[in-house]
Symmetry: C2
Subunit: 151 residues, 2 copies
Amino acid sequence: MNQDNDITLIRQFNRQYTQYLGVFDKEIFNTDLTWSEARILLEMQLNDLETVTSIAHFLKVDKAYISRIIKKFKKQDLIELVQDKTDGRKQLITFTPAGLMLLETIDTASNAQINNLFTDMSQADMSIILQAMQLMTTALDTKEEDNHVAN
Amino acid sequence: MNQDNDITLIRQFNRQYTQYLGVFDKEIFNTDLTWSEARILLEMQLNDLETVTSIAHFLKVDKAYISRIIKKFKKQDLIELVQDKTDGRKQLITFTPAGLMLLETIDTASNAQINNLFTDMSQADMSIILQAMQLMTTALDTKEEDNHVAN
DNA sequence: ATAACATAGTTGACAAAGTCAACTATGTGT
DNA sequence: ACACATAGTTGACTTTGTCAACTATGTTAT
């Protein structure tokens, strides 16, 4: 993979795809959440993130930011906080029924977004795309591991 | 494309890939530009965007924001502004030599980012990924057109 | 020609997304 | 008990935008 054309294609894809996802996210998450908040809720559920610190670490953002958003979620009754019995510094986060319902709404909207993008795609093309995504996801997982080992 | 597994894979890819690109952008653009500024410069060059309005339209952000960033670029001598002779409302933007040099720096960094991600990938896998990106880029172009027709 | 309207860009006020450093409270190792 | 590390909070700040009102210019219809 050294040809200029390939790099140009990849960069074009990167810009276009992130742009598309970004714009769509804004339109789609018309709950009273901002899209970052939706993202945080989603990652919490998908990766069983139960503490401010683990969320901040996972998303590679500052814990101050997460702390404030969690406070907001708490005020909106989307989550509950209980102090960890074995480590009093930790505030374990769990979803309330309202939080879980909101997650389902986000989930449905996200699926619709994907469907919208790929409806016109043929089976054959879809198969190539899915293979590619599988390959890249695996590659990214590996990079992640590398980084963890390195630090 | 209806299986839950496929959607799950796509969504995982979306989250992971945008996350990766986002984090990398922050690390890589260690010019004195913020990453949005780098993005704006890049899109200006790639798409021959010569006015505040066309940049704002292309990137789907507010023109107030672009106006301020262009003002900053001007102060940094990255661009020059000349009033359009045939339409006095327009301020045509052109790059200065300094601006062009900065663009090359960004360009080199971006290419390095791509290379970093794909170095360990086999030729065969790379071929699948490039095919997929080609397909998706085309699909996204089509969606874009659809939107323009619709509006 | 001129009134009515549209478009390009600027500005002020604000909101949203995120960072940094200092702090409190708790836990761990010696 | 002291030193050190970690979890979370808070205040001040920066970055990344948005919105509405404005000026200046251009276009259209009468």
